[in-house]
């Protein structure tokens, strides 16, 4: 298994703050593990903004004005 880089302090701090903002009580070990991959994840997400053809695209989100909730078990 390839060893992952040790994250810098700022990255660890960013990840810790984001998790805390979402009220996720991650341990120090979990924060560190997520911080190790965070720079790569962040770069790949940032790349979504420069994907070809996407500048004026509508998102694949759903919204139906007349939608109602129907219980699957009823």
């Amino acid at each position: 298994m390839t060893a992952k880089p040790v994250p810098d302090e700022a990255t660890v701090g960013t990840v810790a703050r984001l998790l805390a903002a979402a009220a996720l009580p991650a341990s120090e070990t979990e924060v560190l593990a997520l911080a190790r991959s965070y720079p790569v994840v962040r770069a790949s997400v940032d790349a979504l903004y420069t994907a070809p053809g996407v500048r004026y695209a509508d998102p694949a989100l759903r919204f139906q004005a007349e939608a109602t909730l129907t219980d699957w078990a009823s």
């Binding site: 298994m1 903002a21 979402a22 994840v41 903004y49 053809g53 996407v54 078990a73």
Partner: protein, 475 residues
């Protein structure tokens, strides 16, 4: 080794020919589970008593000329994130409220029950259909019947391993980033992720609302078609489901693929650390399709990298939204790998989520253009076989699957919503299964299933049985 049929289709024919009974099929399935499940971990809950009752009813009905269709009397496994009225639903989690879905059938389960399927039990899943097993939690660790030191794939682990081991002839799985196709690949069985919306997903504990698919795992493409025909069709409770029932006539399927244009994907799919057998087996599978008349055309998948990212962003954000009510107070009760997946949803913004959906839209358009040029796309489901559990553990003892997922090529298709059929295509040097995927245009399952059926008329990879099953199944 039993001489009972091992495919759903053969069993259905034998039931109608009177050469086997549902009771016999069900007893064999129960005997296999009794002999092997403590080593494989396919089941979270077995339903031996109700299965025997359902089998007896099926035999009585069939004898009286009441025929509910090809699934009537067939032993069948249900992944334990789907609600069933006669067994608990746990999502293999300490966190899931046990009152959720209690006493109710998910629409897919209700359709299977009406079709006479004999439910043998609820099968193991990664917690909430994501992550990896956690030995610190009170649930079975699913193991691969081809080598119990290896992972059977997930998250539909128990359905894949159960079909491979002969604990049932078919089962339901779900797929958000590969959870039908990965266990199909690693366990050497056939799995179908239907088009998003073809099968209603209500009554299933959600992982990613816009990514979740419910579909079959079975021995063969034809078996998958039989299951899809039962579970497909709109249900008012799922706003994503569409009025697109699936109908087919397998008797008219031929092994002649003349005129079928098959896009073949190598680019980006075979990193240097792939199992060398994967490329050999994949090229052989493509050659077999060509020998049947198909025209291979080398293609590249548009937005390949972006869709893998969009899958992770979408899944983690939608999962965090679902779980946020529990994470603050139940964090230690979640599996370690589930926590990591959910937490990733907090590391991206709302705008990032919307941007992922914008790229999905553009990629959908691009894949539609590709499917104007080809009828199917063939690619390896994964370019590794089932990994050993000890290979998935890092230096600190934590399970780490990120590296393995660079060689598993499934999440791309969940993001697009196209149907994908995963078929066994051979074995690697140590005897572990390998798999080829056939992707089709939206609602083009029939094309993929017909091609898969043709391929399986000329190969027998899907009929291979692991030693653990061959040694335990009694006649």
């Amino acid at each position: 080794m039993s001489d009972l049929p091992i495919t759903l289709s053969d069993a259905a024919a034998a039931l109608r020919a009177g050469t086997v009974t549902s009771a016999a099929l069900t007893e064999a399935a129960i005997a296999t589970a009794e002999a092997a499940d403590d080593r494989i971990g396919s089941y979270l809950a077995r339903m031996d008593d109700t299965a025997r009752q359902a089998a007896a009813t099926a035999d009585t009905e069939l004898a009286a000329g009441v025929d509910r269709g090809p699934l009537h009397g067939i032993p069948f496994g249900i992944k334990d994130i789907l609600a069933t009225k006669d067994a608990p639903t746990t999502a293999q989690s300490l966190v899931l409220d046990r009152s959720w879905g209690a006493g109710k059938d998910a629409p897919t389960v209700a359709r299977l029950r009406a079709a006479g399927a004999v439910f043998t039990g609820k099968t193991t899943t990664m917690e909430f259909a994501c992550g990896m097993p956690d030995t610190g939690k009170p649930f079975p660790v699913p193991r691969n019947p081809w080598d119990t030191d290896t992972w059977p794939g997930g998250s539909s682990s128990g359905t894949g391993s159960g079909v491979a081991a002969g604990m049932f002839l078919a089962g339901l799985g779900t797929d958000t980033a590969g959870s039908i196709r990965i266990p199909s690949a690693f366990c050497g069985v056939t799995g179908l992720m239907p088009t998003f919306g073809r099968v209603p997903k209500s009554g299933c504990v959600p992982l990613g609302y816009s990514l979740d698919h419910i579909g079959p795992l079975a021995r063969s493409a034809r078996d998958c078609a039989e299951v899809l025909a039962v579970i497909a069709g709109r249900h008012a409770s799922d706003p994503d489901s569409v009025d697109a029932p699936f109908e087919f006539a397998a008797d008219s399927w031929s092994a002649d693929l003349t005129g079928l244009r098959v896009g073949v994907v190598h680019a980006g799919h075979f990193p240097a650390d792939s199992d060398p057998a994967a490329l050999t087996a994949f090229d052989a599978a493509v050659a077999q399709l060509a020998a049947l008349g198909a025209e291979p055309i080398e293609v590249e998948l548009p937005y390949w990298t972006e869709m893998r990212t969009a899958n992770l962003v979408t899944m983690s954000c939608e999962a965090l939204a679902y779980h946020r009510a529990d994470t603050a107070t139940r964090w230690p009760d979640y599996f370690t790998a589930t926590r990591a997946m959910i937490a990733r949803g907090a590391l991206v913004s709302g705008a990032d989520y919307v941007q992922a959906q914008r790229v999905r839209r553009v990629a959908q358009h691009a894949i539609g253009e590709l499917f104007a040029e080809v009828d199917l796309v063939a690619c390896p489901t994964a370019v590794v076989a089932a990994p050993r559990y000890d290979e998935l553990t890092d230096a600190e003892g934590n399970v780490d699957i990120e590296e393995m997922f660079t060689k598993v090529h499934t999440g791309y298709w969940d993001c697009l919503g196209n149907p994908v059929l995963a078929l066994p295509m051979g074995f690697n040097a140590v005897g572990l299964p390998l798999s080829v995927s056939l992707a089709a245009p939206a609602f083009g399952e029939l094309t993929a299933l017909r091609a898969g059926h043709a391929y399986q008329q000329h190969t027998d990879w899907h009929l291979r049985v692991p030693e653990i099953a061959a040694a335990t199944v009694a006649a």
